[in-house]
């Protein structure tokens, strides 16, 4: 029987508890996990072995998530690594502009902290085309839709927002 090669996920977050939590969820879902507490250590890990996906926090000391992404983008191999952003700064001054940059030019999917483990895993599996059960597929779809909608709403002008609101109200 061929050995199942587990997908490697690099989890980058400066909060120890967040790293432990996401790692536990990923291991439980059958992934191998590498942990990094800042962008510099993450880069070192990528140099050692290219992960299948990077779970990336935005605001970190030494090297932020956005700065890491810029460095990865310059490298032919590394620029192809899929990324999911997990951040608590989606709507504040510290993370808003970085998130906009990343969602416009790079990874479009982000999750706002606090995340539910099944949403997190479902989103990752979708990116890696790994979703198996119907429930997982639906969860991943919902997470991605929510992420897409949030992007649209954040970038929409007032006229578009009005129309969106009217559309949603009509469906109720």
């Amino acid at each position: 029987m061929p050995e199942i090669i587990k997908k490697k996920i690099l989890v980058v977050d400066d909060e120890k508890d967040v790293r432990e939590f996401l790692s536990a969820a990923l291991v439980e879902a059958g992934f191998d996990v590498i942990l990094a507490e800042d962008g510099n250590i993450a880069l070192e890990e990528v140099k050692k072995q290219i992960p299948d996906l990077i779970s990336l926090d935005l605001v970190m000391p030494k090297k932020s998530g956005a700065k890491l992404h810029r460095e990865l983008s310059k490298h032919k191999e590394w620029s192809k690594i899929p990324i999911i952003i997990v951040t608590g700064h989606a709507r504040d001054d510290l993370g808003k502009s970085d998130l906009k940059e990343l969602t416009m030019s790079g990874p479009g999917v982000y999750l706002e902290k606090p995340v539910k483990p099944n949403n997190y895993i479902a989103a990752i599996k979708k990116i890696l085309n790994m979703a198996t059960t119907d429930e997982e597929k639906e969860t991943a779809e919902t997470v991605h839709l929510q992420s897409d909608l949030k992007n649209i709403i954040d970038n929409a002008d007032p006229e578009t927002l009005k129309k969106l609101k009217e559309m949603i109200n009509k469906t109720k």
Binding site: D17, P61, P117
Partner: protein, 468 residues
């Protein structure tokens, strides 16, 4: 010579007839020939009551009297009359009286104007004697402090029983110069008032001060506005902090979510290790919640510093004692230098302790994050241009430009799980409460210097206000 006298002069006989008068008299009171003095001076038909001329005829002595008459144009006139007896024969009776009158109408008008100015000008004016008793007070002062003539100024202004320390009036009595200061007093309704006072000397001759005039401007409204602005800034910072608070709360929620998840996994798998791991995560994040709430409540409260005279160098030594072992364990040298010219200052010891703790703790963390060897943290205390200065300098990782922009204005920490993010905001708040300011000088990779400046005048003013 009679005509040259610069007063109105008339000679009057015992029947009150004006027998002679100079040209000034005629110009002022009009024609006098064959007329009685009381007719010419006052347009009366009979002698005046309390007539000074009558007094001179009676007693033979000169008399000076104030009087009110009517000039040749029918206008009321105030004058001072000097009446002298004239005897024809030595030892004989007084045959005539020479009345010299000096009009004081102009002076009287000036006095009235002065009185209006004194009473109606919108500031407090008092005249104080050498015994610090109030001899005159204007209307504004009397309205605010009550009827106060004869009372000690310190009793009236501040309800004290002894002279105020650093009294500007005392300085003026000593050197005759103008002195100014800010003071806090108590109005008659018991309310505290703030005023800016200026004291000037009223000289006796050329070398001693007879009285001091105190002119005070009520700046209570401006002071309240100043406090409101500070409060508004603090609440603005609190508002920004609330926005940034969401970040810390989100991480705590992640920790709680994670702890719950791992405990749950551990229970399902009967894995004690996982259960413990998850439980510890829950405990950590419950503690973080407590710290966050406490720090934030403390930050959001406006508070006056509790000032006392302290040696700034001693405060720094306490911090060095607190952190030197922690620093040494990580290979970081922690030292302090207090310059010789640093004097005691009125500071809130607990507040300054918090500021230094925050800055030194940040500096040590920056050294830990740095890759270079030989990192150190230096605390200095110095004086410059009448300011007391504390500096905390490190040669650690330095502060990124983007972060430096936000460092005092955003609820922010780069310390991962440690720190609630309020340290620098709290430090800034305490420094501002002392009337000072805090600056950061840093470049990424080149260490950082935090500098707290406390103008001494401002510290003393706050100290005096607190003492009242």
């Amino acid at each position: 010579m009679f005509q040259q006298i610069p007063y109105n002069v008339a000679v009057i006989d015992r029947d009150y007839n004006i027998v002679e008068a100079n040209s000034n008299f005629k110009d002022y009171f009009g024609s006098w020939q064959n007329r009685k003095c009381y007719t010419v001076y006052k347009k009366l038909n009979e002698p005046c009551e309390n007539c000074p001329t009558k007094e001179v005829f009676k007693k033979g002595n000169p008399v000076v009297a104030d009087a009110v008459g009517i000039d040749q144009h029918g206008r009321k006139t105030h004058y001072v009359a000097h009446v002298l007896p004239i005897k024809i024969k030595k030892g004989g009776k007084v045959e005539y009286a020479m009345e010299m009158t000096r009009t004081v109408t102009e002076t009287d008008r000036w006095q009235q104007e002065y009185q209006i100015l004194f009473d109606r000008v919108p500031c407090y004016i008092t005249v104080i004697g050498e015994d610090y008793r109030i001899v005159r007070a204007n209307e504004a002062f009397r309205e605010n402090f009550g009827d106060v003539l004869g009372q000690h100024c310190y009793k009236v202004y501040k309800r004290r029983n002894t002279k105020c320390p650093n009294c500007p009036a005392e300085k003026t009595f000593k050197d005759g110069k103008v002195h100014q200061s800010s003071q806090q007093g108590i109005a008659k309704n018991g309310q505290k008032i703030h005023y800016a006072v200026s004291t000037s000397a009223l000289m006796r001759g050329s070398d001693s001060v007879a009285h001091v005039i105190e002119i005070s401007n009520d700046v209570t409204a401006m002071k309240r506005l100043e406090e409101k602005v500070i409060d508004a800034e603090r609440l603005g910072a609190v508002g920004q902090t609330v926005a940034g608070l969401a970040h810390s709360i989100k991480n705590i929620l992640m920790g709680l979510e994670g702890g719950k998840y791992i405990v749950s996994l551990g229970l399902n798998k009967n894995d004690k290790g996982m259960i413990n791991q998850g439980w510890e995560m829950l405990e950590r994040n419950f503690d973080k919640t407590t710290s966050l709430v406490k720090d934030f409540l403390s930050f959001s409260k406006g508070r006056l510093p509790e000032l006392e005279m302290v040696n700034p160098g001693d405060l720094v030594l306490e911090i060095v004692d607190l952190y030197k072992d922690i620093a040494a364990q990580s290979g970081i040298e922690l030292k302090s230098v207090t310059e010789k010219n640093v004097k005691s200052a009125p500071l809130d010891p607990a507040g300054i302790h918090t500021c230094l703790t925050n800055l030194v703790s940040n500096a040590i963390d920056a050294c830990l994050m740095s890759k270079q060897k030989g990192t150190e943290v230096l605390i200095t205390v110095s004086e410059s241009r009448d300011k007391l200065i504390f500096e905390v300098k490190d040669n650690g990782s330095g502060i990124d430009y983007e972060i430096k922009k936000k460092i005092f204005t955003t609820f922010f920490t780069t310390k991962g799980g440690g720190g609630t993010g309020l340290g620098l905001l709290t430090t800034r708040k305490i420094v501002q409460e002392h009337g000072g300011k805090i600056l950061v000088i840093s470049q990424k990779g080149k260490g950082a210097k935090f500098r707290m400046e406390f103008p001494r005048k401002r510290l003393m003013a706050l100290y005096k206000e607190a003492k009242v």
